[in-house]
Symmetry: none
Subunit: 401 residues, 2 copies
Amino acid sequence: MDNLDLIKEISTPSPTKIVLLVVDGLGGLPSPKTGKTELETASTPNLDQLANKGICGLIDPVSPGITPGSTPAHLALFGYDPLKFNIGRGVVEAVGIDFDLKPADIAARGNFCTVDKAGLVTDRRAGRISTEKCTELCRLLDGLTIEGVKLLVCPVREHRFIAVFRGEGLAPEVSDSDPQQVGVAPRAVKAQNAKADKMANVANEFIAQAKKVLAKHHPANMLLLRGFSRRPNLPAMGEIYKLKPAAIAQYPMYRGLARLVGMQILETGTSIKQEFITLKQNYNSYDFFFVHIKETDSAGEDGDFERKVKVIEEVDKALPTLTSLKPDVIVVTGDHSTPALLKGHSWHPLPVILYSRWCRPDRVGEFSESACIFGGLGRFLATQVMPLAMANALKLAKFGA
Amino acid sequence: MDNLDLIKEISTPSPTKIVLLVVDGLGGLPSPKTGKTELETASTPNLDQLANKGICGLIDPVSPGITPGSTPAHLALFGYDPLKFNIGRGVVEAVGIDFDLKPADIAARGNFCTVDKAGLVTDRRAGRISTEKCTELCRLLDGLTIEGVKLLVCPVREHRFIAVFRGEGLAPEVSDSDPQQVGVAPRAVKAQNAKADKMANVANEFIAQAKKVLAKHHPANMLLLRGFSRRPNLPAMGEIYKLKPAAIAQYPMYRGLARLVGMQILETGTSIKQEFITLKQNYNSYDFFFVHIKETDSAGEDGDFERKVKVIEEVDKALPTLTSLKPDVIVVTGDHSTPALLKGHSWHPLPVILYSRWCRPDRVGEFSESACIFGGLGRFLATQVMPLAMANALKLAKFGA
């Protein structure tokens, strides 16, 4: 029995409510000037008060030392072992543009690329064509039907797109056409088992037809496909936790991930403040809310320490809208660290606050990486956040007699 | 996917360097007089400075409460799950005398013993004969050939030796001849599956021949074999971590373990200072160094608190030779605790310092068991030391998208 089986067995519906506030890329590294991280630099009276009333700790998204992408990091926060539930590249891209993937669909990540007269790849990204051009090319390919399989081709950004194959008799176990290098021809897509023969044929035929269509669109005169994958069969959060979960996120990627685990997606605006208002407006209709703040991560990725500080302060200002709803359990954390100094995701653990009436408070009085070291939750895996939130919401029955 | 698979998938070569300094048996227990452990008693300005700049914590070699031997303790530090990669007794003994075990060799741990006229064991250790006598007896047995299998018999210490079977068609799944008690006859070696028939025959024939040879050497007039085993198929560190690893160790046991995981063994001297000089001399040729200090453990095993303190101080004095090389990542820890008060290995967790430019320092300002409780790394498993070192050396790519 794994942890998810256990939780499913002992979870019980109840009127209590949980809010999981995920501040993307929250964790940081200290500025060499001040010795303080972004979170430690920000003025956060409301978060500090919550840390003071609650119990704190540090979480590892996957395990110590592992820098996660957004997908495994969020799966872990939702309680799913990210090493067990590995999501294919095609699905990740589809999710990232809020594409409503059906259970039988097979999605592949696509690159428009450049080939020379001999058919050899000279640029795997077609000179990073504009998103506008990408959109125009996708329109030329979208809607084709091959062997009864419908092609849905949607732009992502620049040279990137997704190809979704919708039809019967398909299986995702096929190799990539993308050779991941230049100077060679795109590879034929090959079935890795007998069930995937049709998928390979349809993919190769699609590539052949696309080649003709794209011939006159140099530098984007060919395409490469990789990461053929089907939406993973993730048990729904509603079933595991006996919750009615809803997601509030400005960015499609996170709405898509929330959809994969069965959350209801709530319409929201384009500011942090508006996300909290959306929470307030929908508060009576659900008992679990995933609220996602993206801008901290973007600022970290840009290496903009000061902007990340400001975004954290903005979250802090909006927090009373959340706390005034008096959820039974509030969890504030991030999905992974994105230190401005590293300009990217990192392996550093994330500070976490868990507040509930039943949380056994510790002595941590401020929300920061260095203070959370001393928190009562210690250092633990992100997959354990949901069991702890559930327990504190009195939604878990006793295990064993 | 286990953790090692994950690391292998995401590790990338890079010019950064890691030094893992293992102070054997480092952890201790407080002296009843002073309330301070060996490490806390020692004057260690250089280690304290490193702890201050780095991030600290406590590691459990196997899991809380488990006292490990040197083999599982080191495997864990190198990132191998010591419960998964169990190394047979025969191999451990062979490794312990720096014997260059070939992949197909089968090694057994041997005892010279005493049997009475009825052939019953009266002393499993033959009165602990001298190492000199053991060496003489091994010479009588070494080099025999049975069914095309060559016997390599080497002394270890006192009554202990190893018998290595080198030849074709052997398998290690055979029972021990050692009955582990007196008053009974040595057991026949039995094959535990059909593949091991030849191994059992050869072992029994070797024992029969040895009995004749040893007859006139009372009290060492017989031998007992146990722990038939083959060198485990450990994935090489170079492959897992994409590193070029080297080991600096005065004692053969540790060179042997390092060899098992594919490290290059560097010639060194017989003092701590010389080990650090060896590091300096070879610094440009490798990107991972395992430096092993043995004397702390020996002092602990002898129950010599003061000597253990002095050895730690000697390590501290030599440390600037290491730090002045400016490795990207420095890890200082032990393989297990050996408190002088217990005169042996113990289960107590080990203090650890991890220093790198990217390590997110904590508030620990000295290297000691009691200070490391408050370290930012928390308390974690020794198998996670390598992933953390790799991450801090920026040698791990992001996991998932």
